[in-house]
């Protein structure tokens, strides 16, 4: 995958269990934009802490090894 050809200043957080390279200095908000996900449609857990205030997404800067979980509602019983 091309995004794994990280520039020296890139970082590799673990997003939904997968390592995913992103430019250094990127926030979770940047990650969601890259994934074309609307913050309103998902819930984000950052290093096991739920980001309840979505406005914080644009201020949380990602580092290598950070655990990010992005979840939503699917059909279930």
């Amino acid at each position: 995958m091309t995004e794994h050809a990280v520039s020296p200043d890139g970082v590799i957080p673990v997003v939904n269990g997968e390592e995913r390279a992103i430019a250094a200095g990127s926030t979770i908000g940047d990650l969601l934009r890259e994934l074309e996900l609307s913050p309103a449609a998902v819930v984000v857990e950052y290093n096991r802490e739920i980001v309840r205030d979505r406005e914080r997404l644009d201020s949380l800067v990602l580092a290598t090894g950070d655990a990010v979980e992005i979840v939503h509602f699917v059909g279930g019983g």
Partner: protein
Amino acid sequence: MTESTLVAGSTDTPFVIAGQSLRSRLMVGTGKYRSPDEMIRALDASGAEVVTVAVRRVSLDRSRDDGVLAHLDPSRFFLLSNTAGCYTASDAIRYARLARAAGFNEWVKLEVIGDQETLLPDTAALLEATRTLASEGFVVLAYTNDDLITALRLEDAGAAAVMPLASPIGSGLGLLNPYSIRTIKHRLSVPVVVDAGVGTASDACITMEQGVDGILMNTAIAAATDPVGMAHAMRLAVDAGRQAYLAGRMPRREIAVPSSPGAGMLE
């Protein structure tokens, strides 16, 4: 529209959980439908207000979008998030908190599964998770087995409703122990909503005839040959069972009693 098609004679009490009055005693799941369109048509036919959803990772491959809210209008349905797939109290608590952060409501259908083969609940872990979540302000609807003592403990632990199974999840075996369900309903103060195991409309009707407050089902509708038709049948069955319960059935007796007068017969 009122909660049911009750006609002259019997008047029903409102179906209330945690202060919220619900217009239908039938709650339905949103899993396993063949298409989103079929799901929506089935939900409409069921008349359900409360619909369950599950919390899962977003697929990072955006070509596979399985989000249910693209199809389900949250202003038309009351979303009840579940903790399906969780095998520990801590996992269930984590999923419940994630669901609440979505911002719709504080309700959770709490499942802590204890066994992969039967999907029966781990009642000790369920009690622990119920205590924690209730203390955090969640409205906990606890999926449990048909054991009275566990149901009583769940009520003590702060469950807003207790949801005993009719039979194992997805089994379609119907109501295996009417006596247990009646006893649980009789002894609890919080609403009792039977969850899981209903297979067809007669199962739903018999379950409601036990006097429980409602039923939650998913597979019985989604896995029917015609889910929309079955959803409609379930709506009628839940109403019929409720009305029959309110009307009070005749006593069972093991002798025949003629319906026509014995007097006035010709010589």
